[in-house]
Symmetry: C3
């Protein structure tokens, strides 16, 4: 897999300058690039290291002085970060999964396998499952009873899709991702300590001794098109209806999406994020790493939840939230500054007490 | 799988009213219910949507005016949320795992497999493992050397049970759950920076350059009856004795239970909860999502730890805890209110300083 | 597997006292030890329980009065916690994986398998993969295309190693651990709401409706010698170059290491820790459970990040950090104390206002 600079520029719709016949077979950071590699320098800070490497060509920002960096050719991109999407797709060597269906895969005769589907070694495809054309399953993937995978999916090693889950086109799932585990829903014969504590805002919490009865998850999971799910991440099935994930949502590793959650489109959930049961997330919401949203809440479209923040109440559309519990970003920053200035405040008040005592003639 | 309203009411021990011969094959939310579905409306808020759907029958709360919602029949439950446990168990279509032992499973000849055990495709059952009667293993499950699974277990795809782990009756494990990984226990030849920092409360922390030596986990994990473990959750083995989990504990997805932990019965650990090594958790403790308990602590029976809270000291029985570090819920709320009112306090003190200065004739 | 007290003492380089011919086959806690077990009591608190058990021999600290505890023999260790490393290695019965290559494993003919490598049932070894001498793979492990595992590795059930990942000697990976999933890197055609919010510190955040384009991960992961990775933990591949982990790093369960991260040597990452993309971690850094480090930061050598703390800015070498956002431990403690004393401060200021008002003749 190698390309000339002209070929890359043409494929990406950018402008090439210099010797467009230079051929590259991979990309590299400026300082470590070999002559047959395309160096990537999205901004001047990075480009400064070009002379340390041996690249003859680089992808740079629009207007970059590529000759000044000693290059023979350059691809100039108006937004180099976005250009990386197309370029990296061209250059991705992938996981090397073989085409076709490996003989060790266990495929139920009632499963429907589309054209050009690749199924890796030791996969298990359940009864009535449907895998649409062009999907690729790595080794040891499991697709449950009557589950559906849309066209062009890429399911890496050990992905598990539960019964009756429906997934749209171009789904990408990293190793160990799990769609369709049972929701976490248990109930006690009488209201539990946790239920009463929530109802009474903590005034009464002590649990009486009761065992938990399981509420089975009768719904499944419905996932739109162009969704990605990270390694060992989980999206649970719904209790009565499906848990729903809109088109274009991207989930990083170790993310938890609880039962009955409804997510809009194009949301971004960074690693170790958790969304608790029955919460509704609008379109284009961004959840920072390790952040969480409690159950039965609403997060409006375009909201951004800061890293490691915990949402305990509804969030309006477009709001930036931070902290524990998460509040408007500016409120959090103000509280935080106040907290840092507290020691001085304590001293000021102590001084004032002395001064007032003196003025009052008490000493 | 379909039932009449009378059959469902009888099975659950509730009262049916209206036409008990109506037959339903599944459940639905009020607004989307078809005529052949049983609508579920646990409270008036939900029932208000019944006219939008086509349900002829619903499960409602005791005393509900079902005829007023245009229904032909109703099942009336004194605590509808609890009724969902029995109803959902009746209606659960499950994962469709086939009975019997799939020929692709790799089962050591010394393993003991009980009556009516189902073992799915590509499972691996190690030497001396014992799987008791009626257990069901989905695809690609792995049971280690001399591990024991009690009767009536349900282990979904890709669950992994390590050597010598012992699990009681009716265990349910979601995909990718792991019992019996090694504990995380490392030691340096001399006390490490982290050890000294803890001992000195942070006065000295800098680590000298030492490599970590592994302490092997010689214990296993002992799990009681009726325990559930979520997708990709982990319970580690103990160092010298077993890590222990009491009857009836329920763990959501991506939960971590460290080595040597002892848990009482009927605890509830929501998603992404972590319990660090050697901590002892009493009966009926509830840990909210993303909460954590540090190592070598005690959490008393019936305590409730709020979502995303971090327990860094012992918790008495029945206590509600919140925040970082977790404190009594009312203490946390008071601190939090104070934090929000800080900006005004700073202004008040500034005003006081001016006033006192003026009174003192300093200006 | 049994040893005399003399044999154990000699192997560990410690001093045995009393009857060194006593034979033990396992270890136990003092109170539950049988006569054929070696009791472990690292400090007097634990040793006090020796009379409740039936141990004839124990491992104790240097100078312990073993005869006073009624023992017939003792191994005296200057730092008993460190002695556990060697002792537990001797006593570990392991997972019982069989030697040799199981016939059900699917191994590409182009893979290179070293001497004395064990490959368990239903493993998948991809084309061009190299597994060095003495490594042991449990059941259902997957090694990707051209990935390399160094000598003496131990990969437990269901571990997944992606294409082109390179791992050094004596790697230990717990079940479900995943090295080499794709990095979480997405970009919008125009700067996204989250990008603008970061750039403007939250002044403008609302996302316009844009879909996310995937940036493929062209790098792999390079891992040094003596690294351990916990159950269901993830280390993602780099975007252009490899993500890098230094010698001796130890990761607990459910840990996330993002794309492009560079870690020094001998770091310790406790359970559910997250390190976001492109962050650089120095040598001997310790991350407490559930802590996190944001992206593109630097954490200096020997720093210690407290449990559940969130690092949002660079950390100097040797610094102890705590809280959200993480600050110096002493700063955090001071702020925290101030927060607890806030209610009294509000009362003091209210009293002062009254007093000043009175002095000013306003009442």
């Amino acid at each position: 897999m190698s390309y000339t600079i002209d070929e890359i520029a043409a494929a990406l719709g950018f402008r090439a300058e210099g010797d467009g016949t230079i051929r590259v077979d991979s990309v590299a950071e400026p300082a470590s690039a070999a002559p047959g590699q395309l160096a990537l320098a999205m901004k001047p800070d990075f480009a400064a290291a070009l002379p340390q490497g041996a690249a003859r060509a680089a992808m740079l920002w629009d207007g970059a002085d590529w000759q000044g960096y000693g290059l023979s050719a350059a691809i100039l991109a108006p937004r180099p970060r976005f250009a990386m999407a197309g370029l990296s797709a061209m250059m991705d060597a992938g996981q090397g999964y073989a085409p076709g269906i490996h003989p060790s895969a266990v495929i139920d005769p009632s499963a429907e396998i589309g054209a050009d589907v690749a199924i890796g070694p030791l996969c298990v495809i359940g009864p009535g499952a449907r895998i649409a054309a062009g999907s690729v399953l790595g080794p040891q993937v499991q697709i449950g009873w009557q589950a559906e995978i849309g066209p062009g999916g890429l399911l890496h090693a050990g992905v598990r899709i539960g019964a009756r889950v429906r997934i749209g086109a171009r789904f990408v799932a990293q190793p160990g991702a799990c769609v369709g585990a049972d929701g976490f829903s248990f109930v006690t014969p009488e209201p539990s300590g946790a239920e009463r504590a929530r109802a009474s805002l903590g005034q009464e919490g002590t649990a009486t001794a009761q065992a938990w009865a399981r509420i089975h998850s009768l719904g499944a999971v419905s996932i739109g098109d162009d969704v990605e799910l990270g390694a060992n991440s989980c999206i649970d099935r719904g209790t009565v209806r499906d848990t729903r994930v809109g088109d274009g949502c991207k989930f990083d590793n170790l993310v938890q999406v609880g039962h009955n959650v409804i997510m809009g489109r194009d949301c971004l959930c960074c690693a170790q994020t958790g969304i608790a049961g029955s919460t509704v997330i609008g379109d284009h919401v961004v959840l920072g790493g390790q952040s969480g949203v409690s159950d039965n809440l609403t997060v409006g479209a375009g909201a951004v939840i800061g890293a490691a923040s915990t949402v305990l109440s509804n969030v309006p559309a477009g709001r930036m939230m931070l902290g524990y519990p998460a509040v408007r970003m500016d409120t959090h920053v103000e509280s935080y500054k106040g907290l840092r200035r507290l020691p001085r405040l304590f001293r000021d008040v102590a001084d004032l007490k002395k001064a007032v005592s003196k003025l009052a003639g008490n000493d």
